[in-house]
């Protein structure tokens, strides 16, 4: 078991190092950030002074070594734009993204999983078709389009929900629905197919023959056995949640990590982009670790295999 976790840990460190190095090289070799940061009419003197101040006049490998040395001490550098520590800027934004992601995930799970179960139980019926139609709609509709439609309908026409920003529970509704719709649709489809497979297993027929009530059969016999693919989808969708947040946070002016990334990339704020990529990569790696761990908890055979 210790060896299993050691390998996982080393693989995680290697992945993060590759991500950091790749991001560093791509950002530095894809052009000079100074013009993007200072604006089109910056004077040559100003550009030179800025380059010296931030060490951008150094050879690439010197910049890389400085960056790695800095990271080894737990520092991610200062933002070229805000002149503040990158880590402070990122962690100011993390709560907003986490709260929105949590709300969207809860909504997706509370709608997607029961809808998938219901569709499986009513296979071939009108309810099944209606749920699947909504599921397809959910993951086929681009979230920026859904977001703008919702703003126009609920904020502009009905004037019942705030169009942007944070502050109250009402501010969560439209961004969470926009962000969670894709995941809800995906979860509904996967839950349905996983449940259909489980419902046809002999142990389900045996439970029915023994007179176990339907609700117990579904919750305690079918659902745990269908959980592995559902957990996999939830894990995979964590990445989608962050990618989706980039769009949703921009549409709804939500002050989260996604919007910060968009701004940092468009302004070529190198240190901030590197820090954000590292945080996002860490999130993904941790999510995968948690999924692996959950597999073990759900299925003793995997635990023993490990």
């Amino acid at each position: 078991m210790t060896r299993f976790w050691l390998i996982k840990f080393l693989r995680t460190v290697l992945t993060l190092w590759l991500v950091v190095t790749f991001t560093f090289i791509v950002l530095r070799t894809s052009g000079d950030p100074v013009v993007a940061l200072l604006g089109g009419d910056a004077m040559p003197d100003e550009i030179e002074q800025f380059r010296q101040q931030w060490g951008l006049d150094q050879p690439l490998f010197v910049q890389y070594l400085q960056y790695v040395a800095q990271m080894a001490t737990g520092q991610f550098g200062d933002s070229l734009r805000d002149h503040r520590p990158v880590i402070d800027i990122i962690f100011e934004r993390v709560p907003a993204t986490l709260s929105l992601g949590l709300a969207a995930y809860l909504m997706a799970a509370l709608i997607g999983i029961p809808a998938g179960i219901l569709a499986a139980l009513r296979r071939g019926s009108f309810i099944d078709r209606a749920i699947m139609a909504f599921a397809v709609f959910g993951f086929a509709l681009p979230n920026f389009f859904l977001g703008i439609l919702m703003i126009l309908f609920f904020s502009l026409i009905l004037q019942v929900l705030p169009s942007s920003g944070t502050g109250t529970i009402w501010h969560f509704i439209m961004p969470a629905i926009t962000l969670g719709t894709f995941t809800a649709g995906t979860l509904a489809r996967f839950t349905r197919s996983a449940m259909l497979e489980v419902l046809e297993k002999p142990y389900m027929r045996a439970a029915a023959a023994k007179g176990v009530p339907a609700i117990k059969r579904i919750l305690f016999h079918a659902l745990p056995n269908a959980a592995i693919p559902i957990v996999t989808i939830i894990g995979l969708n964590l990445g989608q949640l962050i990618a989706g947040a980039i769009v949703v946070e921009t549409v709804f002016a939500w002050p989260g990590v996604g919007r910060l990334l968009v701004t940092a990339v468009s302004q070529r704020d190198l240190a901030l982009v590197q820090g954000l990529v590292l945080v996002i990569a860490t999130t993904m790696v941790l999510a995968n670790l948690i999924v692996d761990l959950t597999y073990g908890l759900l299925d003793p055979r995997i635990r023993k295999g490990a």
């Binding site: 052009g31 000079d32 950030p33 100074v34 013009v35 993007a36 940061l37 604006g39 089109g40 009419d41 910056a42 004077m43 040559p44 003197d45 100003e46 002074q49 734009r81 805000d82 002149h83 503040r84 100011e92 977001g147 703008i148 703003i151 126009l152 904020s155 502009l156 004037q159 705030p162 169009s163 942007s164 920003g165 921009t250 549409v251 709804f252 002016a253 002050p255 919007r259 910060l260 701004t263 468009s266 302004q267 070529r268």
Partner: protein
């Protein structure tokens, strides 16, 4: 239980209390919060390092100018009036400024001539390694800035400069507190600035929000709003919905094709101002790339004559703006402006074809680098122009790029740009000389697109030294002609700033884009 008698007693008491309270306090308690939804803020709020269209919107709410342009008394803003400086007099190369007494900075310190000398001085703007190096552009010719006493300042220039008061109406005229600036450093100052304006900054997160609160010791008296919040809402649908539903009081930067929709709401008023700025494109007149056909002036002039810009402007903007037919003959230049000046290169496809045939152009594709969504309607206009050039046999490819850094990456034959006109009120110095002259980025940067000709440089020297109007006007015409002989660029239209706000707010838009939440420019 409240009886009629106790109610009367309490009411009387409340009335007496209100009468006894300081008026400013009662006023302050009743003031509203104003929320402005904007498309962007900027990385810092330094008066020079932070120069941009987006910062100009809110700068005068934080900082005050030494000298003010009066857009209420004159729509072109050619009348100057006192700001932090109450008098200014010239004696040869030396200007003497008398400063307003008792002006407070947001940290409670009193403004002195030392602060103003530092604001305009070499340490901050034009020395060897200044804190805000872009200041060199605006202080060309400064040799001495000195505090004579607490309220008197002298500015000495290398030659007589009649335009110093006009220059102080721009970015360099915003005064900063010397001690605080030096204590915290330029970067920290740009994140939490202190000025003498009607509002003080309380929160600034550059990618999200700027919050400011009323500064009741402001030298013109308490401002009308308790707080002003500038909030980034990148998506226009969000800004529009927020204004219509009452979440926001103002929104800025409205796409032209959405103006009519916004104006259709009863609770919304649309405001526009013709800006002191012209989107344009530059021809790359240099042999870089080596086979650049645009080194031939006949091709450049032919391409200009192939553009029916009046029709393009009418199609894209209606009657809200116009195309300046003759470069640098702009209406904001007052006495310099000649509405009857003849256009030497009017729209004429036959003349365009003749000029192009005379050139060495062989049908090569010309790359036109354009920054995505930077100027309203620029890409749409470019599409039409590309088609117009195709009609006369010139093959142009509009290459839309994400940022200026990509636009400045060679090879290119043309690139987008814009030029401001308001550095010196009523004088064409900025677009004609500062922006194209020998020290301009257009002539010196690694992405430069032209080398000023000897004729242009000679005319520019005369223009720089001319002080009285007649000689300056003659020099301006000669310099403009030297530029037109080369035709290194083409001005498209006068930019339009637009805003929308709650109908019950009175707001006076300004051509410099400033959104003044105080004084004669806003009433709640």
């Amino acid at each position: 239980m409240i009886t009629r008698r106790t109610f009367g007693k309490y009411s009387l008491g409340a009335g007496l209390y209100a009468l006894a309270s300081p008026t400013t306090r009662a006023f302050a308690q009743n003031r509203p919060t104003i929320t402005v939804a904007v498309d962007n803020l900027w990385a810092n709020i330094n008066t020079i390092n932070g120069i941009s269209t987006t910062t100009r919107r809110f700068f005068p709410n934080i900082y005050s100018h030494l000298v003010e342009r009066d857009y209420i008394g004159d729509k072109e803003g050619l009348i100057l009036k006192p700001g932090l400086a109450t008098e200014w007099t010239q004696n040869g190369k030396v200007w003497t400024l008398k400063l307003r007494e008792g002006v407070k900075f947001h940290n409670g310190e009193t403004m002195t001539a030392e602060d103003v000398a530092f604001t305009l001085g070499p340490e901050r703007l034009w020395g060897e390694k200044p804190f805000e190096p872009r200041g060199k552009t605006f202080t060309a010719g400064f040799v001495r800035v000195e505090a004579i006493d607490d309220l008197t300042l002298e500015i000495e220039t290398e030659r007589e400069d009649p335009h110093i008061p006009g220059k102080l109406t721009g970015y360099i005229g915003f005064v900063v507190p010397k001690k605080h600036y030096l204590d915290v450093g330029v970067d920290a100052f740009g994140q939490a600035p202190i000025g003498t304006g009607p509002y003080r900054v309380t929160t600034f997160r550059s990618g999200e929000v700027l919050e400011m609160e009323a500064f009741d010791d402001y030298w013109e008296g308490p401002p009308p709003a308790e707080k002003v919040i500038w909030k980034i809402v990148p998506e226009f649908a969000g800004r529009m919905a927020g204004l219509v539903s009452g979440e926001f009081d103002f929104i800025a930067n409205i796409p032209t094709d959405q103006e009519a929709q916004l104006a259709s709401y009863d609770n919304v008023t649309l405001a526009r101002a013709l800006a002191g700025n012209y989107p344009a494109f530059a021809f790359n007149t240099r042999p870089d790339p080596e086979d650049n056909p645009l080194v031939d002036v006949n091709l450049r002039k032919g391409m200009v004559q192939a553009i029916d810009m009046d029709s393009i402007v009418q199609a894209l903007f209606g009657d809200t703006t116009f195309h300046p037919a003759v470069p640098f003959n702009f209406p904001e230049y007052g006495k310099f402006y000649d509405p009857d000046m003849k256009n030497p290169l009017p729209y004429d496809p036959a003349a365009a074809r003749a000029l192009i045939e005379k050139s060495r152009y062989k049908g090569e594709t010309l790359r036109w680098h354009i920054t995505r969504s930077f100027y309203p309607n620029y890409e749409a206009a470019a599409e039409i122009m590309v088609e117009m050039w195709r009609q006369v046999g010139v093959n142009v490819q509009a290459v839309i790029l994400d940022n200026f850094q990509l636009v400045y990456t060679r090879p290119y034959h043309m690139m987008n740009m814009s030029m401001s006109t308001d550095f010196i009120p009523g004088d064409p110095y900025q677009p004609l000389w500062l922006d194209w002259g020998p020290t301009s980025s257009r002539a010196t940067a690694h992405w430069k697109t032209w080398d000023p000709t000897p004729e242009y440089l000679a005319a520019g020297k005369v223009f720089e030294e001319a002080t009285d109007f007649e000689s300056r006007r003659a020099a301006y015409l000669k310099l403009s002609q030297a530029w037109q002989d080369v035709t290194p660029g083409y001005y498209l239209w006068k930019s339009v700033y637009n805003w929308a706000h709650r109908s019950d707010i009175e707001f006076v838009p300004r051509p410099d884009g400033e959104m003044r939440m105080f004084g004669d420019y806003m009433a709640l």
